[in-house]
């Protein structure tokens, strides 16, 4: 029934198109590996300031991916992801404080704690969507610092908790604070790249665009919401674990409403990218922009807004193919 195709592709055109796709993929993979190699040798040439800042930037990039994941697969916006980041950060700090276990042991616990918190939030709010869900997440973010202070005997109150144990013994602390979040970012990006091709990913995406159609093929809307929120929160908690390790401390000041809002800003700046380098752009914006504007005094909010506008408008002006590469392809 080839008549249904208005402009049938000839065999040679099809082969050429396939070759073009393959070569584009190879080019992207080559650029990715080259970029990763540069990041791996960077601490050998860059100073301690840059190593520290980029470590935080990698952790922020993971947090940004968690927000983008919810947008891409759930079609929902969160203004409260700082809560799930905090869950991961505090889990790592408290596991070290009370059990004496280092990051690599507490990381899976942190991810599970984040996922559990995500499900606990998602279940009662599973019928909310759009602006209603966003405001509900915001309520979480508003409540978080108060909750942390209320349980100050455990959380350390204003002062917070320190994270001191080594994650990679034998390596200097400075390098650990760089390489551990970098490894986390690569791991999250690779896992999500693989996830994109899974049946669960396809089910989530159909549930996002056509929930009735998805239900008719056995994909329950409430399952989709819970799964999406649990995965997104688990990624956020991994980011939190990396942040606590890179900054050596966790305190309520690090997880205010603004933290959540800036994560959303970072996600928008990265065009909701789930790829490593797309998310890194958001992470760089989030980490570097306040530092660059530090000396501007009262002009900071205005300059920050201008920078945000410039980045968003600039990205949207890029050619479609380049944007697709930055965002890691479709969804």
């Amino acid at each position: 029934m080839s008549s249904v195709i208005s402009t049938p592709r000839t065999a040679s055109a099809s082969v050429q198109a396939d070759q073009a796709v393959v070569s584009a993929r190879r080019r992207t993979a080559g650029l990715g590996i080259a970029g990763l190699l540069i990041l791996m040798v960077l601490p050998l040439v860059a100073g301690g300031y840059w190593t520290f800042t980029l470590g935080l930037c990698f952790a922020n990039a993971i947090a940004i991916i968690s927000v983008s994941f919810l947008v891409r697969y759930g079609g929902e916006v969160s203004i409260g992801h700082g809560v799930f980041v905090a869950a991961g950060a505090y889990t790592v700090a408290l596991v070290e404080k009370y059990l004496g276990l280092p990051l690599l042991a507490s990381l899976p616990i942190a991810a599970c704690a984040g996922a559990l918190l995500g499900v606990i939030f998602a279940f009662p709010s599973r019928h909310l969507s759009g602006i209603y869900l966003a405001v509900a997440t915001m309520a979480l973010a508003l409540a978080l610092p108060e909750v942390l202070l209320h349980f100050s005997s455990v959380t350390g109150g204003y002062e917070g908790v320190y994270v001191k144990l080594d994650a990679l013994p034998g390596l200097s602390k400075e390098l650990q604070r760089y390489y551990v979040p970098l490894a986390g970012l690569v791991l999250v990006a690779v896992l999500l790249h693989h996830f994109r091709r899974s049946r669960q990913a396809a089910a989530l995406m159909l549930s996002r665009t056509s929930p009735h159609a998805a239900e008719s093929f056995g994909v329950r809307r409430s399952w989709a919401r819970l799964a999406c929120m649990a995965l997104s929160s688990a990624i956020a908690a991994i980011a939190g674990a990396m942040l606590s390790f890179s900054s050596s401390t966790v305190s309520p000041n690090s997880f205010t409403l603004w933290t959540s809002i800036f994560l959303l800003v970072g996600s928008v700046v990265s065009l909701y990218s789930l790829s490593m380098f797309g998310a890194l752009i958001g992470g760089l914006f989030l980490t570097m922009m306040p530092m660059l504007l530090a000396g501007a005094g009262n002009w900071v909010p205005i300059l920050y807004g201008a920078a945000l506008l410039a980045v968003v408008l600039g990205f949207n002006a890029l050619p479609e193919s380049l944007r697709a590469r930055l965002t890691g392809g479709q969804a």
Partner: protein, 263 residues
């Protein structure tokens, strides 16, 4: 067990005294019909007759206030849409419901989701089990696309394709999982006459002894060509049932729907 399975597989879908209303608006009133496997059943009627609402009742998207829907002896009233999908219900939609972010073949593979077992670990890690199931599902989805003659577009995005191909992709998604009840809502909408002829041939090939196949369609040539039994709905009530010849010569159907030219 084999005999029991065969009997269940060949059970008809029996709708009895089905009534559905939204507020004060009666969408379906006391509709009763038997949809038999091995046949192609047509469901026709003017716009607003309740055809799509009837489909939505069958798949569980709407909950009728009255009446029963049984697959053989199994009552379906309390079974949600996902449960009915697990029983083998599958459908296409009046307005194409494909995900634009998935390729054509990925959309079709969603039709195989209910019979897939790859878990969350397979989703994130390249285990052999998950990979082989995915490759198997891809083959099945490609076979479904091939049956409808659109295998060439498997790796394209729905956004790149004309409406006719999208509709065929939806049908491919609906048939990919070997359904027991297949409901096609206006499959010929958006197709030109050549494509409709091809669709007609494809629908006849879909006929199977254990498949309940129901088609809602406004294209009378297609309906009269492929259907064994036709039910006519009008303003939520069943106006007539019978073979294409009986429907064509039914004066009530001619008056409210077909018109003199078609009769």
């Amino acid at each position: 067990m084999t005999t029991a399975t065969t009997e269940f597989d060949r059970a008809p879908l029996i709708v009895n005294d089905l009534s559905l209303s939204f507020g004060g608006i009666k969408v379906l009133q006391h509709v009763a019909m038997q949809l038999r496997p091995g046949e192609i059943t047509g469901l026709i009627g003017p716009n607003g007759a309740g055809k799509t609402s009837f489909f939505n009742c069958l798949t569980g998207l709407y909950s009728p206030q009255q009446g029963s829907i049984c697959l053989g002896a199994k009552h379906l009233e309390r079974i949600p849409p996902s449960g009915r999908a697990a029983l083998g219900f599958s459908r296409s939609f009046q307005h194409v419901a494909l995900c634009p972010d998935l390729s054509v073949i990925e959309n079709v593979m969603v039709g195989l989701d209910r019979q897939s077992s790859a878990g969350w670990l397979d989703a994130f890690l390249p285990f052999a089990g998950g990979r082989s199931e995915r490759a198997h599902n891809r083959d099945l989805a490609l076979a479904a696309l091939t049956r409808l003659g659109v295998a060439e577009v498997a790796d394209l995005s729905p956004g790149q394709l004309p409406p006719g191909v999208l509709r065929l992709t939806e049908i491919a998604r609906a048939i990919a999982g070997n359904p027991r009840v297949l409901l096609l809502d206006e499959p010929a909408a958006g197709l030109n006459s050549v494509e409709t002829g091809d669709l007609s041939a494809a629908l006849k090939r879909l006929r199977a002894p254990d498949l309940v196949l129901v088609v809602v369609e406004h294209d009378m040539d297609l309906i009269m060509d492929v259907c064994d039994t036709i039910h006519v709905l009008n303003v939520g009530t069943l106006l007539a049932s019978g073979s294409p010849e009986q429907i064509r010569s039914n004066p009530d159907v001619v008056r409210v729907y077909l018109g003199d030219d078609d009769a």
